[in-house]
Symmetry: C2
Subunit: 162 residues, 2 copies
């Protein structure tokens, strides 16, 4: 698996699984009916943000991550990131590889911490992965997320100093 | 004191104290060198956001608040808000009146919670005010804010269910 900067030519490969995951509405705080231009604008970042794709040996896009400052001004040393793995290619370590890549980027860019603003507590695979990569659940906003099947569930804020 | 919707004609009264407070860099996560167009774009919100001003009997703008969804999609029932009081008119209850107004707005709009993402822990007056209005410090991001005089200090995330 290779992780490299995303280009405009990668978006047509990302959008179908982005749409699938966001339409399901179980794990992300994007509008579930987001259209393609809005999705592209939110995902394909310009500096100081950055977007990468994870590709396999044949060039197939397995997943993507974006990374960016979480705050501005006096808190601009805190980074954020988001991750999307194609459901067809789960359980290949793509999320972990993207997470490790993003943490390395944040350290190299001089960020002092990374904060995830909204990790749905029922997304237990992601929660376990981020914990294994050093993140702590700082708090859980009660009833912070409305899950389509489970109703109101908690929304974790996860953080680690770098 | 009257709290009413802000119009474009109010911005010239807001910008000088917005600039003063943001340049001081002690309490907000705006870029300290933010220019006037960027400040106006970030403060004067369109629906579903809203911006208000607090004015005295002579029409002088004492302070302003903006309110908006904090998240989208499955967490769009969480509101956020920001407050700015002219330092020349502190200790008149403007912050409290704006806070009460914003909470009433959020309830009326059907939000189920309000979350403040970045309350600098050394801004003790604001922390005490928000606590008195029902907010809880959910967590404090260690070294989350770089204070120009005090160095790295904590950044509170405050929340209340409505």
């Amino acid at each position: 698996m290779l992780i490299r900067d995303a280009t405009a030519a990668d978006w047509p490969a990302v959008w179908p699984f982005f749409r699938t995951v966001v339409r399901a509405g179980e794990t992300y705080t994007y509008p579930r009916d987001i259209d393609e231009p809005a999705a592209r604008a939110s995902w394909m970042l310009e500096p100081p943000g950055r977007t990468v794709v994870a590709v396999d040996a044949s060039g197939t896009v397995l997943g993507s991550a974006k990374m960016n400052p979480n705050h501005l001004g006096g808190a601009s040393h805190i980074a954020s990131a988001s991750f999307m793995v194609d459901p067809r290619y789960r359980r290949r370590g793509t999320g972990r590889a993207l997470g490790e890549h993003v943490l390395a980027w944040a350290r190299a860019e001089g960020y002092r911490a990374m904060q995830f603003n909204a990790v749905v507590e029922t997304n237990t695979g992601a929660v376990a992965l981020w914990r294994s990569l050093g993140f702590t659940i700082m708090t859980t906003l009660p009833e912070g997320f409305h899950h389509p099947a489970k109703g109101y569930v908690g929304l974790h804020i996860m953080y680690q100093q770098l």
